[in-house]
Amino acid sequence: MTTLSMSTSGPNTVFDRFAKLNWGIITILIALAFIGVLMHFSVSSGAWTDMPLTHGIRFTVLLFMMVFAAIFLDTRFWLAIAYPLYAGALVLLVGVELFGATRMGATRWLDIGPLSLQPSELMKVGIVLALSRYYHQLDPRKTGTVLWVAPPFLMIVAPVALVMHQPDLGTSLMILFAGVCIMFLGGLLWRIIAAGAIVAIGGAVFAYFGLLHEYQRQRVDVFLGITQDPLGAGYHVLQSKIAIGSAGLFGRGWMQGTQSQLDFLPEKHTDFIFTMIVEEFGLLGGALVLFLFGALLAFTMQVAYKARSLFGKLAAGGVAATLACYVFINTAMVIGLVPVVGIPLPMISFGGTAMVTLMAGYAIVLSVDLHRDQHGARGWLW
């Protein structure tokens, strides 16, 4: 009972592995990034320089790195780095708390020489791998006992608290969501889930009054209809709804969206890019993007389903949960279903952070898919 081992013959040559990559997932990722390039071209009012080019190049580089990692790193590697990665991310988060660089009112960055690191992003991958490993090695019969629930609980709470304090509500919610999803998939007992839900609701109320910053609370208030201010916190959503509502089935046309092109829509290249897609390509364009994400999630869950090791299943499921968290919160936000939280639309929104995180996640997923027959006994040590 020691290691993951090759029990059946996996792909052997590099070309074999390359051919057997999950091309469905890769195709969808490319399609999404291409949509991103199209939209950034429109945001730049028809100029290739800067945004669309940066987006495309960044994705291409990450795509190669992802494929390379998927081919050469197998599940054992991910299992091996799970805890060190998590621990390192946690140390860096504490470092942010102590020495972090403050930009735009939030302390999220750690400047190490020329490098600017955002440890909370590292934690998004770290939490998935660490909890996957934890449940991978835990006797399923123990998942229900309080003693064995405590470690993953603490593993989630520590980074969530640190990130929330930065403050970065969006990222902390995502870490929480991914962690809870893995605990759920790992076999947490229903009665603990029920108890947890009650505690979560209490915690949400506590967070609203105790932890949220004024601007965050305002967003929640506006969303819940407690306050109305079309030019304040609600302005973003109002303009977004106007853009989506007036778009029609086919939209106003590429580079023709009035709300987007005339800057009535704020943050159109990042958090509100989905609105811009709908405004310029209509309900059908929005549906296509949602369909692509749905398909990506489905493929990812299929990888989890097919993986023979629990670690692989949980890791793929965790990546899917993270992706879903991005997509659902972002799209629900721009149509006014949830309060405004700064969460981008993966692969499409401009900015490297989310893309790096998710491409890393998909490196794991593709790797798990490629080496899905690897499985091993559970145990504390590998």
Binding site: Y135, D139, P140, R141, K142, T143, G144, T145, C181, F184, L185, G186, G187, Q239, K241, I242, A243, I244, G245, S246, A247, G248, L249, T258, Q259, L262, D263, F264, V278, L283, G286, A287, L290, F293, G294, L297, A298, M301, A304, Y305, L310, K313, L314, G317, A321, A324, F328, T331, A332, I335, G336, L337
Partner: protein
Amino acid sequence: MKGKKVGSTLPKRDATVIFNRRAALLSFIGAGTLGAIMFRMGQLQATNLISGEYTDAADENRFDTRIIAPPRGVIYDRFGVVLAQTSKDYQVAVVQNDVENMEETVGRVAQILGLDAEWARRAIIRVRGGSRYEPQPLKEGLTWEEFNAINVRLPELQGIVAQSADVRAYPFDVVYAHPIGYVQKPTQRDIDRALEDPAQGQSRAVYLRNPHVRVGKAGLEASLETVLHGEAGWRKVIVNARGVEQGEDVTERREPVRGSGVVLTIDHELQRTAMQSFGDQAGSAVVMDIYTGDVLVMASSPTFDPNLFVNGIAQEPFRVLNEDEKKPLFNKAISGGYPPGSTFKLTVGIAAKQAGVEDDWHVNCPGYFPFGGRNFHCWKRGGHGSINMNRAIKESCDVYFYQAALRAGPERIAAAAREFGFGVAHDVSLPNVQRGLVPDPEWWLANRHERWTAGLTVNYGIGQGSLVVTPLQLAIMAARIANNGLAVTPRLVHEAPGFPGERRAPRLPDISPEHLLAIRQGMFGVANEGGGTATRAGNMLQLKRRPDGVIVDAATAPPGSTPIQMAGKTGTAQARVITAAERARGVIRDIDLPWRLRDHALFVSFAPYDNPRYAGAVVLEHGGHINPALDASPITAMIMRQLLLRDPSNRPAATLAQLEPDSRA
């Protein structure tokens, strides 16, 4: 082993089975979420299909209607000289959103233009009220040199714009300050009033908020606002979220319509002569055609430059103008009220004639008239001896008119005064026309709460007491005497949309031509006969009518030409009370008095005597007859001489059809 012990007490669970079951559950929830998001998007669009609210909101966001200020109508003199027009104005403006440090940037502009920190402070306050994204004028009316100085330094002045705009300009600046007045930027009160008035409403208020719009605030600019301002055009522009224009829907553009031109009755050359003739004296002159009522001159002195008001006058220059004791801002020709003094004797003469006074009625003037226990003095200490009306007008004998007034009675004098146009606010299309005051026993009782006394009648005879007249009314009196009793009324607007053309004046009902003839003969004596009070002025005319009827300078007139003469009446109106004690000591001469206590000097006149066409009145405030060369009568003579040489009433006036052939009539 630990694991074995726990494991033995717990039910067996298969992690893979649990995972797959729960993953399916989560996938199901995920699919539901995607469905909900899709549904919500469809719902937003369905709402829009039914109500159009999001399409409307998007249009409201991106379209903005911008007013195009219409060019204001041009004002011409009667021969087409441009007196008020629209011209290019150079301005320095600021786009607030582009400026990092307002104080510093405006301070540098002030430095370039040589303005002080106080100006900069005020400019910033003014600008802060306006749009952050559109240029807001900091300083208008820049000279070309200042404009260039700003232009050269623009690269280092982020957010500063040098621009030109159409602005009202008065090319003859001080000459028409009073009749034409000036325009100014609309005040908040103008905007509020427009909003309250249902006939004007929102669109007018939007128009007034345009930074290039000016409204008439004084003179004809104010009273002819509706004629001059034209119709605003508009542009439907596409704006971005900051209100910065991105494009325009040209199919929705409506060009502005220039305001209609206005031709005045004023003759520019004469007006300029009249304004210059006052020098630094305070006073006013009105000259009019006795048949058409066309006002050829409306001068008021001292004056000011109306161009200063167009872009907003600074506080200090305004204070100086406003507090000047000679009241430069005030149109004395229509708003100045004075006792008419001896010029009123013409009216009293008519009233006396109506009461049966004949030319052979003589009065003895020993220099004073004892009445009611006190002496009423004649201006001539030694007296005029035995005197009739003709001589009494010529030599302006006070004692004669004391007694003539007593024979006529106050009611008859008041009636004659009203027929001559006193006590009436004549409509010359100007604001603030004063009515003056013609007292009679009824008015006295109602307002002074005492019975009229004969002593008041005596004073009435020489135009003193509570009688108040304006220079315009004096000119009308002279005109009605000269035209042999036609009720001519003055007009300042020769041609403008909605204004009637020349009107034929009806006869004055109660004034007989014979009486007027006698008065005119007396007025002839004033300017042309020995002992007349204005013979010096009468001699200044030096004009002759050639046999072909053209009036020329006497020196160049061919043989057979006949002299052209004017007729008039001098007047002196006391601006202070002379006490019995002062009279006993000897009345203080005007030159020894402070300016504001000196007498007003007046002169009414008409010309040519033999075939009258023009009449006028000149009032010198506190003139005191100190400088004989610059007294009211020589000023009149100067104006009359040029007037008769130009003879504007016998030359065709300009018409709008000639001046503005393109305008839609």
